[in-house]
Structure formats: structure tokens, C-alpha cells
Amino acid sequence: MPDQSKRTFIKISALTMAGLPLVSSPSVVAASEPAAVSAMAKEFHVVYLAWVRAESVDPVDYLRSRGLHTISDKAAVRNLSKQDFACGNTIYINGFVLSKAEAAVIASMGKAAVIS
């Protein structure tokens, strides 16, 4: 088995067996989805949970308040993110220092994964 497959296999197995709160949510991902996508969705969900713990506003509402109505506008996200870093508008999630804009984008994707 190639390295990457072994690693992914062990990770996904461990995540599943652990029954962590972040993966025990009803339908983070469908069982049929590729493992890598599944793992990514779980990472997004971690960010969502961290956002909810740290911020009083829903990530989607937050992005709207910053003038961002679609997260597919990568240039706008990048600009907001740079502004955030420049003025220290950051959030500390799982050790990473992220701009609030990028964290809100990821959190909104994590939220979507939960409710899908």
C-alpha cells in the first residue's frame, strides 16, 4: 500500500473509531465520499466549532457584514484576509493564526458540511 494511502487509512480509521464529537455530528460527510474529502470536511468543521466558541456572530453573517456575499470570490477573500493580518484582526484556531475573514470562510464551509 503506498505511503499516502496508508497514512490516510490510519487517520480515517482512527477518526472513525475515536467517535470524536467533531465527527460524530450526524452527517459531516457521506460514507461514500473519498477519504481525503472526508478528512478535509472534518478539518473545516473543527474551524467552525472553534469559530463558534470564539465569536458571537455566525460566520456567514460575519462575512456578509464585511461585504462578502459569496465565498467563491477568492480575490475579495484574499484582500479581506490581508487587511485582517495587517491590522491584527486574527483568530487563533488549533494553533494557527488565521485572519478572521479566512477563518469565517472555512467555518462557513464547516457549518455547511454539518447541516448538509
Partner: protein
Amino acid sequence: MIIDAAALENGTAFVADVCVMGGGVAGIVLANELSKSVGNVLVLEAGGEHYTPEAQELYASARPNPNGLPDTRHSRLRFLGGSSNHWENNVSPFEPIDFEKRDWIDNSGWPISYADVEPYYAKAGSYCGVQADGYDTPFWEKMLGRSRAVPQSKVLATAIAKASMPPVRFFANYGDWLRQSEAVRIIKNANVVGVKYESDSGRISEVHFAAKPGQKSSVSAKIFVMCFGGIENARMLLAFNEAHDNKLGNQYDNVGRYFMEHPVVRGAHFFAHDTSIFNLYQSAQLDGRIAVGFFNFQEDFLRANKLTNLRMPITPQTNYMLSDGISSHHILGDAIAAGEVPEDFGTHVMNYIRDIDMVAEAVMRKGFNKKLFDSADEIGGYELAVMMEQTPHRDNRVKLSGAMDIYGIKKLEIDWEIKEEDKERFWRGLEFSAQEVAANSLGRVKLLKERSQRLWGDQLGYGHHHMGTTRMSADYKTGVVNSDQLVYGTQNFYVAGSSVFPTGGHVPPTLTIVATTIRLADKIRKEIGNA
């Protein structure tokens, strides 16, 4: 000429213009500088030309050092060349702000400025084997054909470190000159055991030394300079003061206090968007030396945010070494063994599970001496092993214990810890760095705060730089030596080395030790000339 104190008859008396006590970096540089213009220099070195366990044992503390501070028998060496016999030769100059009074740092501020030391840095570079071509970053960008990552940043600066390859061992490099010099005599195996202090004149008239218990010889000189090292200077000066009513720079109980180290904290990982941007930050081999860039902070930014500076080299690391899971595995294991629940318990469990492949890799490597995944050895990012400035605190100190060494000198004890305010400034500084590299689209930084217990505990590194214990001050009430490194209360007794540093900066101190020692040699030359 080298004389063995063990071969001397009891009561042998030497006369010199200058007696240099200690044959380490400062002592050798001082003797070398003075040998060119002062006729009669005598160096007393407690060890010999090579390491011996017997001499080294005299560096033992009376009790284990607190908070993981390394054993004083391991962090320095007691023979000719001193701790240069095991240093890595990594040198950079202090910066102007390091000498300033910073109102947000208690006890900061030197009585001399960067401008007073700067003229000596080029020559100090030559002594340290890294040449006299300085540390100007634009110069090194041109020299190496590599560029700074954030040249316009008002937050991050790029500084240069250099090292000789192989490292300069000061006695191996300069010992032949000293041996052959008509002006210099070195007495090896000469353990200083006391001084004769004339309280009326404030002069030291004699220093006593011994090669074995019960034996005693002496040196009388116009000037005495103590160059025993950052810890031993304090220990010996405390011992002298016990015999002389605290008149040697200790009227206000300052000797041994304000002890500082350079903690090294592996506090962050950096994941770059484009690693080719960071070539300047990887070692460049030159002829007999290396040069490498590291991040630190702009001085105005330090002032505006009341920070202490951080030396932030970036070192490529493998996925295995960057694994959060392995670190969390250790933290959880330690906590469970102690029957405790660690801080950030949930994060550690998460790290463990999400990084289970690297945990499995660690188990295979340690338990079965086998590798599981080739990708574990792939470069996954950069590690920041950050050297931080420790600020001076009066209760961090070297003091005398009740136990004696074989010469009747009291063994030392050390009280030392890293204060919470230094840790707070460290994390705040790293957070600013993380924001700045992201604002410049260089990548993202992960701070390892959840590892704090280990980072400030068993994973804490040390520079083995001992500073501050005979601090320089313009006021005898707040220091031990004046701006000329003359011990308060004396007329002819000086101290050289990092023990005179009121603050320790964020880079290794040896270049500044050498620079300040050359400056002291200038001062002594003039004094001897005038006499």
C-alpha cells in the same frame, strides 16, 4: 611561556603589570590585546591545556539547578580556552536598543551605548573567526545573491549570524602567540582562592592561588581583571566579599543577582507558500565560515509594542519532527502517569487522533527501530527555535551555599526561573510575526501554545549563556562595576565577560564579550601608560 602551578614551591610570589584571572575567551583576548603594549601580563588559569574531570568538578553547584537550568559542570569548561572549547561559534552583534533604557523592562539600560561598543565589533569578528566584514543585511544579500523575505516590513527585520567552520577554540587559535610572547606568562592549574584588599586605598594588592589544597602562591600587580565567566565571576566575587565586608562592588547586595540565560523555545511552525523565498535564511557556506539570516523585530516596533526581541531562525523540518500528535502523545502520557489532566486536554486528544500516523511512526522507530512511512521524512515546513531575551530580575541569582570545594571556596547555588511577563512577551511577539508573514502572503504560522507545559519544561533549550551577575551601572547602588568595568569600591579591579551585561539581548553574547574586552584593554593600556 606556560608555568604549571603544581610545580611551584609554596609561597612563590609573582609580580606583573596586569594579572588576568581566567584563560577563557575574555581572558585570552585581554592577554592578547595587552601583550602588544603592556610589558608584563600574567594569566592565571584554573585548568590546564586539556579537559580533566578533576578541574571540571570544581564547577559543581551545591544543589541541582532549578527549572531545568543545565548543570554548571556541563554548560561551561574549566581549562584554557574556557567554554570556547565547546561552543558553536554562532555570533551576531547586539543592537542599539539592547543598550537603551526601555521603560517597559525593569532594570534595563546600559551606562554605555551601542556607539561605545560598535567600534570594537569588527576586530571582535576577526577574533571569532568570522572576519571583520560586519552584519549589514543588504551587504550580505549582495554577497550571497539571496534576498530578504520582507524588506519593507515595519514589523520584521532580517539580521545576519555568522560562524567560523570549524569553530574557533580560543586557546588553540591564540595560545601559540601567547606562549611565544615575551610579555605574557600563563600559569595553569592556578585556582584563585582569595585577594588581598587594601581598604584604605581601595586597591587589590595581591591575588592568591593554589594548584592543590594547602599550597598557596601569589601575584601582585598594578591591575587585576577577573575573567572567570558569567557564573564564576559572581561566585568568586561573593567569596572575596565575604572576606572583605562586601566592599568589592557588593555594598548594595548586587553581586550574583540579575542572572540571565538565553532560553530557546521551539514555539512555532511555519508553513510557507513558496520556500524559495527563504534562501537567505538557510546556511550559506563561505570560505571557512557560514552566514545565515534570521528574523527579528524592527526596533521601532519593539518600542511601540513594548516587546523584547526574539531571534527567529527558520529551519526546515520533516513531517515527523513537526508532528503535533507525537508531542501531544508525550504530554498525555506524562499527565496520565502523574494522575493529572493536562491543560488543553481536548486539543491533545485531537492532535493524537488526527496525527495518529506519525504517532505510529514514532512507535515503530522507538520500539522496533523501523520506519513505517517514507513521507515522515519529507520536509513539511519550518521550525522556529526561538532564542529569547530574558529580562533581568533581582531574584534570579547566583549565590554561595554552605558547602565548600576542596580549596575552601563556597560552592554556588542558583535561583532561576523564566518570569511570566517574559513568556507573555514571547507569545505576543510570535503572534505579531505570524500576522506579518501572513499579511505578506508568505504562509501561515502555527503557534504551539498547547505544548506550553513541555516547551517551558523538558523541551526548553538553553544558549548556555550566563549573563548579568556583576552588572554594569552608572550608580554603585544598582550595579557592581562602572561603565569602565571597574568594580565599585576598588581602584584597580576590573571584570570582563558577559557577567557585566545589564541586559542580554536576543543573540549569543560572545561577539559582545570580545568587543567589550577589547574596549577594556584600551582602557587598561591607557591607565598603565599614564602610570
